[in-house]
Amino acid sequence: MSIFEYNGSALVAMVGKNCFAIASDRRLGVQLQTIATDFQRIFKMHDKLFLGLSGLGSDAQTLYQRLMSRHKLYQLREERVMKPETFASLVSAILYEKRFGPYFCQPVIAGLGDDDKPFICTMDSIGAKELAKDFVVAGTASESLYGACESMFKPDMEHEELFETISQALLSSVDRDCLSGWGGHVYIVTPSEVTERILKGRMD
């Protein structure tokens, strides 16, 4: 089994009309055994920037701690928060530093940039950025997620419809993947508020 599939994960981010959604599954496993069903994969960097980390849980935690520390230092020096595009470049650089001994993680970055324009991107474990206008996926369920998102996505959805779409895409994809699932964690971010919801899907 690949090291990327050791803990199991599923992450998806979608763009809507002046908003975005980012969702993950909640399972923490050790290969075939499930350890916990409330594992946090999505982290808030600031009110308009969220980072999801799929792949090896340990490296996700290390990477999150390093990035949080870098962002806090940036905030102290610049007296403002990081733009999503800047943050994506930072993550990419940090991942490429370890080119020949990488972090076994695939990040998904979602944020509201200048004029509250939604920004999403993903990258591989050595920092190759993939910008998208509609949706990005990562994790062991990524192939199912690509299919589900491609068929369910529509451009310019309002936040309620976006929530329904991303939830259905996530739940139907993790149901086909034994290493991810046990519910979902969805964040809907608009310029004025952040809504966090827990989904109850097939608990198996």
Partner: protein, 198 residues
């Protein structure tokens, strides 16, 4: 076939570990204490490579004590868990410690807590945790019978059920188990479950 497991109850946390020290087919001793008392209100049950286990647990214990001396206040359980994770993560890509840890602690402010720390430095706060081949049996037993806010008697009963299951279903089951508990009165040994004297 090392077995360590733990659970959180009402105002306490329990850690159970087997006490066998094995080298291939030989049992060196069956009263090896694998649950280290880190400080007055913390228990650290460790399983894995024998040398790494002894080395790492002692290293953590001494560093926890050093923090207490330097700063005048003890580390919280969460802080100790994160310290351990940091050490494991740093060593992971150089010279990994092959040790899996169940950390139990009690604070007046936050009550009892239990942390699962993998040898790859995956950290998660949980209500019940188990490592080793015994985990297949003890986790299943705990999934069935555990409920939040159990009393000490109920938790000991559940621990006994898990031990019974491990003894009857694991092919090279360990002979003796030790149960340690941590609550507002501190971390201490609770009892043993022996099948052989040592």
């Amino acid at each position: 076939m090392e077995c360590v497991f733990g659970m959180v109850g009402k105002g306490f946390a329990l850690v159970v570990a087997d006490t066998s020290a094995v080298n291939s087919i030989l049992v060196h001793k069956s009263n090896e204490d694998k649950i280290m008392v880190l400080d007055s209100h913390k228990l650290m049950g460790a399983s894995g490579e024998a040398g790494d286990r002894a080395q790492f647990t002692e290293y953590v214990q001494k560093n926890v004590a050093l923090y207490h001396f330097r700063n005048g206040i003890p580390l919280t359980t969460k802080a100790a868990a994160n310290f351990m994770r940091g050490e494991l993560a740093t060593a992971l890509r150089k010279n990994p410690y092959m040790v899996n840890i169940v950390l139990a602690g009690y604070e007046k402010e936050t009550g009892p807590s239990l942390y699962f720390i993998d040898y790859i430095a995956t950290l998660h706060k949980v209500e019940k945790a188990a490592f080793g081949y015994g985990s297949y049996f003890s986790l299943a037993m705990m999934d069935r019978h555990y409920h939040p806010d159990m009393t000490v008697e109920e938790a000991i009963e559940l621990a006994e059920k898990c031990i019974e299951e491990i003894r009857s279903r694991l092919v090279v089951a360990p002979q003796n188990f030790v149960i340690k508990i941590v609550d507002k009165d501190g971390a201490r040994e609770h009892s043993w479950r022996r099948t052989t004297k040592d």
